[in-house]
Point group: C2
Amino acid sequence: MGKIIAITNQKGGVGKTTTAINLAASLGILEKKVLIIDADPQSNTTSGLGVKEDDFNYSLYDIMMQGVDVFDSIIKTEVPNLDMIASTIDLVGSEVELVNYEDREYVMRKTISPAREKYDYIIIDCLPSLGILTINSLVAADSVIIPVQSEYYALEGLGKLKDTIKAVKDSYNQNLEIEGILITMYDKRLRLAQMVVENVKEIVTDHVFETIINRNSKINEAPMVGKPVILYDASAVGSKNYLNLAYELLVLNNDK
Amino acid sequence: MGKIIAITNQKGGVGKTTTAINLAASLGILEKKVLIIDADPQSNTTSGLGVKEDDFNYSLYDIMMQGVDVFDSIIKTEVPNLDMIASTIDLVGSEVELVNYEDREYVMRKTISPAREKYDYIIIDCLPSLGILTINSLVAADSVIIPVQSEYYALEGLGKLKDTIKAVKDSYNQNLEIEGILITMYDKRLRLAQMVVENVKEIVTDHVFETIINRNSKINEAPMVGKPVILYDASAVGSKNYLNLAYELLVLNNDK
Ligand SMILES: Nc1ncnc2c1ncn2[C@@H]1O[C@H](COP(=O)(O)OP(=O)(O)OP(=O)(O)O)[C@@H](O)[C@H]1O
Ligand SMILES: Nc1ncnc2c1ncn2[C@@H]1O[C@H](COP(=O)(O)OP(=O)(O)OP(=O)(O)O)[C@@H](O)[C@H]1O
Ligand SMILES: [Mg+2]
Ligand SMILES: [Mg+2]
């Protein structure tokens, strides 16, 4: 039974997609069977892994809203052991359509759960919002990884995100846990960033990953060629960081 | 009659809030009467200008959904000539409530337009989405400024944003124009960033502001003390960049 982990933070640009792609790819390289789901209508996970709209017949919108079977929508990626469910701009429409649905919070969970049988880890990349689609991802997930830049707005929003996670846990998904807070785009030359990293364990009560993801130009360039950073430049700091994160996650889950 | 400008891009973390706050503050310093509206439930504009929930009675949610008069909701900020309409997390609820509203796209426009009489510029900070709240901001606006980081995902999303702007213009707001594309967080050491800036005029057909906003740690630190960068450190590169942007905007609008 695969574990479903949502990568979420309503703050924009904190490294959700970058973490989803590079953590999933690292787990794949460590011989785990992984499915990545792009639950953001911007479809950055889809394009960041080099997948174009012609490469797939069905997207997450079709699975959630049009009754298409999850197994008919899974596509292979270039990364060993990593499959994907892509997204398109149609997903924007689901936020409006879901409003009048019976059990609107459970639609993603009901439609993707059958895939648990085939994968060790299912990673969901969320959009920067606390709306219905993100709620659906939190209801479908067993746990949440929260990427946070070491910057003011990213920290400020953590309280609201934790309130939302608690509300989802109390009303829809008793099992939901916070897997951990992940510091991303760390630049040790910035005074503010150093201050955050030194104090983060006091600011947040949840588990903070030991692995810190450094700001690294190779991470930024890799999506241009549709590859995770480990396939773009395995010697890059970013590749080592995300591989360490994958190890740390496996240890946390007694899955080494 | 004041001009309403929406700062929008569905890509997260590209500098929408930073641009809204610092452009509005620079226009205020140049003796223009400015109102900034926080149309993002994360309320980063509100906190970035040092405003706490106890400082105001009504927010944008109250104006749009509860019939509160726009003039009863306007609060002063520390910045000369700059007033604000704040937001709270309640705004998340408006995305669901608006779905079943008659003329749901026009609610913001109808409720905030009376404020045009009192201000030279009204700046709207949008959330990272193409959903109903962003559509409301585009329908209320005369023009749009699109902040773009010189990075892959930010450029990739431009096409979808322009499609949405065109759809809003055709169906709800014939006057809507693109004021310009603004390059933000520019780091001249990054190869990718240099490439983007050199080619951006070929990639986009719209007006691209001459002013480029550099990555600058003072811009990043200023929100911590609830000030625009020009009041935090007037000698910072970021302060000069945003002041230049304000001048450029005034020249574009024959308003020097
Ligand atoms: N460690 C890093 N070093 C350098 N650049 C990074 C790093 N992590 C992410 N980036 C870049 O920062 C930008 C934002 O990251 P990303 O798109 O992954 O964030 P996001 O949270 O998914 O954004 P959104 O809220 O729009 O979904 C991207 O251009 C990405 O390439
Ligand atoms: N020119 C800059 N130099 C350095 N840091 C910057 C700059 N512009 C913005 N930032 C920082 O980058 C982060 C993202 O910027 P900001 O929050 O303004 O983006 P946004 O588009 O409003 O994000 P969201 O999509 O969540 O609304 C913030 O922490 C901000 O302080
Ligand atoms: Mg993303
Ligand atoms: Mg913002």
